[in-house]
């Protein structure tokens, strides 16, 4: 592995910061250098949030350069579109949580929610995966674990051992959600066997 550049996008409150933290810690635990960058500030609840995670033997820039992204993991459909130009031209991986969150600006009639997202993304890559993560997480017993489930899907594309992922998830989950989160991770991992 030369380097891996992963973008995690979504809406404030979906657990993007925690998910990218687990990803970065798993990379560190696996012996890689890693930098993880996002901006806190005015983009809190309901705003658009993105995290850049760069994994390599030695990482300089904390930001992924436009055209260098390998994987885009999006927790919300319309947010996927916002970052596609960060991806590399040839066969990037796009994983999308099959969930639409309609911003109030649409209800006020000031904007429209994008249509045909699947078709649009299909033109960019054949490695496009829509995951019904919220439904799958609900089945396991905690709707809020959908983000960890999506990390499980992502793990199929990364060279980290499963026991490292599990250790990091355990260390970063509240005690009562530890097992559910591990199950969510496994469910995601098995949902997409590649």
């Amino acid at each position: 592995m030369k380097e891996l550049n992963i973008i995690i996008s979504g809406v404030g409150g979906q657990g993007i910061i925690l998910s990218s933290e687990i990803l970065a810690l798993s990379a560190m635990e696996s012996g890689f250098d890693v930098k993880k960058s996002e901006v806190h500030g005015m983009a809190q609840r309901g705003g658009s949030v993105v995290s850049h995670v760069r994994i390599a033997k030695k990482v300089y820039s904390p930001l992924i350069e436009i055209g260098k992204g390998d994987i885009l993991l999006s927790f919300e459909k319309a947010e996927t579109l916002r970052w596609v130009h960060y991806l590399k031209k040839n066969s990037p991986v796009i994983i999308v949580n099959d969930l639409e969150l309609i911003p109030p600006i649409v209800s006020l009639g000031l904007e429209e929610y994008p249509r045909d997202i699947e078709k649009t993304l299909g033109k960019i890559t054949e490695k496009l995966y829509f995951i019904p993560a919220v439904k799958l997480a609900e089945k396991i017993g905690n709707i809020r674990s959908f983000n960890i489930l999506l990390l499980g899907v992502l793990s199929n594309f990364l060279p980290f051992e499963e026991k490292i992922w599990e250790k990091i998830i355990r260390e970063n989950s509240p005690a009562e959600f530890s097992e559910i989160n591990i199950n969510a991770f496994k469910e995601g991992k098995n949902f997409l066997k590649i």
Partner: protein, 578 residues
């Protein structure tokens, strides 16, 4: 030991290891987590101060008294603390004293882009500029050594990207540094003109020594390259440049002031062309040009906005890497949280159609749709002075239709002096203090009005109503911002009066535990679809709650988001929300 730390966490860890005893700050993005982390160490006496000037003076006092101390703030906070900053260069310090200023290129959460390096040169104080969290950790430890060796305060420039990026950081353990003996020394610490004249000479001599040191210090270094291109770079820009120019020579600057003249001259001989890659101001570029050397920098690299690796590439090489075309998607501007107490006030203000001078905090979002209820937002505490200025310019008939809006923490930071000015200079301004019992915007820090310190200890709580009275305001009201009818009534009464007044709108931030206690176990609200007037009404949408949207022509409340604040139930004309 290796940890995954943000730049702010790394600074706190490094400062703790360096034996810091006193730490002060006023919260401000992106600097806030530095003091939050410092306050967790039992060996450190950490405080949230009333504002940056006070924070500076407390930490500075501790350094004069012989202890290692640190003060942190965002870049615009240094404007507030500029007065003691300049004096501190003259007196110097005994215990190590480091001033952290976090710049915000790109203005992720600020009103301007200012470059702290300009302050270093202006105030004649050495400055360090790390490129990532590991360097922030390494540099902060050395900053205390420089401070004590040269008896000078040391500035420390962070940026949002460095403060909030997490990196792998190698850490060590704390070293106790005994507090230095205190010896009274009026000639050094009383800046009467007679003493200050001497101190200025001492300062100039110190700067010459620091200039020599800058060329020898590990902060500045030459990195060998393979071609004739010489890149001079600092901060996070260095890391972008390293990605884009893999074969170039680098002069990596970690101490931009005093500039490492000797080291630069050595570097200059090794390369054919110099390009300076730095974020915001052309500070290094100017230092090089002052020495009489040729360099290009801002000719390519923009002054405005945050840099990124793609901007660095495109500015100099002319094009980006190939990538999929950008796709337009729906905007998601930030908004008030569901159940936010500010929502009620801004709903009323937009109804009353008054002129509103605003201030710095979450409530600046009142400027956005659906409220559009703000005319100015300038800097911390400006709402009161600005409002009085409107009145002085346009008369009392105009100011009868206006209010100043300020948060509790911001009012205590720098609104009090504005309020006294209104009384003293016979203004009639109505001030609304949005008292949500915390410094919410920066992530819930305590302040003098909450009754708790940074260490989580109970303390005396400043009473805002009594404080307003002591500032000479006779009409002081308290309202519950969740009660729209009552709030509108009190606001109308106050606004129509010729007398100045203060209205404290008191309810805890909806994200605080106190808010959940406040609401008790209220039910989430839902819409009776057959009653709802839908598209043609939209009264509930004008409350600006993120939980409410129009779905299939009718109002819809997202259960996951609703906290049951009941603001929407009060505005529905047909009582369709239950």
């Amino acid at each position: 030991m290796k940890l995954l730390l943000s730049g702010n966490e790394a600074v706190a860890r490094g400062a703790w290891e360096a034996g810091v005893k006193v730490a002060c700050a006023y919260p401000g993005t992106p600097s806030t987590e530095i003091l939050e982390n410092l306050s967790k160490y039992p060996e450190i006496n950490a405080e949230w101060s009333t504002n940056e000037k006070v924070a500076f003076e407390v930490a500075y006092g501790a350094a004069i008294a012989g202890a290692r101390s640190i003060v942190s703030m965002k870049h615009v906070g240094l404007n507030v603390a500029a007065d003691p900053l300049f004096s501190s260069a003259y007196t110097g310090v005994k215990g190590g004293f480091v001033i952290i200023s976090c710049d915000d290129p790109g203005m992720h959460s600020s009103q301007n882009e200012q470059d702290t390096r300009r302050y270093a040169k202006f105030a004649k104080i050495p400055i360090l500029e790390p490129s990532d969290a590991q360097e922030a950790y390494d540099f902060i430890k050395l900053a205390f050594e420089i401070s004590e060796k040269f008896e000078t305060p040391v500035l420390f420039k962070m940026t949002t990207r460095i403060s909030h990026t997490k990196c792998v950081v190698k850490v060590a353990e704390r070293k106790e540094i005994p507090i230095k003996e205190y010896v009274k020394n009026p000639k050094q610490f009383i800046l009467l003109p007679v003493n200050a004249r001497e101190r200025h000479k001492v300062l100039e001599e110190k700067l010459l020594k620091l200039k020599e040191y800058s060329s020898e210090a590990t902060f500045n270094r030459i990195e060998k390259g393979k071609n004739g291109l010489g890149i001079v770079s600092s901060g996070v820009a260095y890391n972008y440049a390293k990605e884009v120019f893999k074969d170039a020579w680098f002069l990596k600057i970690g101490m931009p002031f005093p500039f490492p003249e000797k080291l630069f001259k050595k570097f200059y001989k090794k390369v054919k062309k110099i390009i300076v890659i730095e974020e915001n101001e052309p500070f290094i570029e100017e230092e090089i040009k002052i020495l009489g050397y040729k360099a290009e920098g801002k000719k390519y690299i923009p002054i405005c906005d945050e840099l990124t690796p793609d901007i660095v590439r495109k500015s100099i090489k002319g094009k980006e890497l190939s990538h999929p075309d950008p796709i337009k998607t729906v905007r998601r501007p930030p908004q008030f949280c569901p159940g936010c107490p500010h929502t009620g006030i801004f709903y009323c203000l937009s109804k009353l159609k008054v002129t509103v001078t605003g201030d710095i905090g979450c409530y600046t979002l009142g400027a956005l749709p659906p409220f559009n209820a703000m005319d100015t937002c300038i800097c911390m505490g400006a709402s009161l002075g600005n409002a009085l200025g409107f009145e002085k310019a346009r008369g009392k008939d105009f100011s009868k239709r206006m209010v100043a809006v300020i948060g509790d923490s911001t009012f205590l930071h720098s609104g009090i002096t504005g309020l006294i000015d209104i009384t003293y200079n016979k203004g009639s301004i109505k001030t609304i203090i949005l008292d949500n019992r915390t410094t919410a915007m920066t992530g819930h820090q305590d302040h003098p009005g909450t009754g708790r310190t940074a260490k989580g200890e109970e303390t005396k709580e400043i009473n805002l109503k009594e404080l307003a009275k002591a500032c000479g305001i006779e009409k002081v009201y308290e309202v519950n911002p969740y009660d729209i009818k009552e709030t509108l009534k009190i606001l109308k009464n106050a606004i129509e009066s010729e007398e100045p007044s203060v209205i404290v709108a008191r309810a805890p931030c909806a994200l605080l535990k106190e808010s959940r206690d406040y609401f008790g176990k209220r039910d989430k609200k839902m819409v009776l679809e057959d009653k709802c007037l839908g598209e043609k009404c939209k009264a509930c949408i004008r409350v600006g709650c993120p939980a409410i949207s129009i779905y299939n022509g009718k109002a819809f409340i997202t259960p996951l988001l609703c906290v049951g604040c009941e603001l929407c139930t009060q505005v529905c004309p047909v009582f369709a929300i239950v």
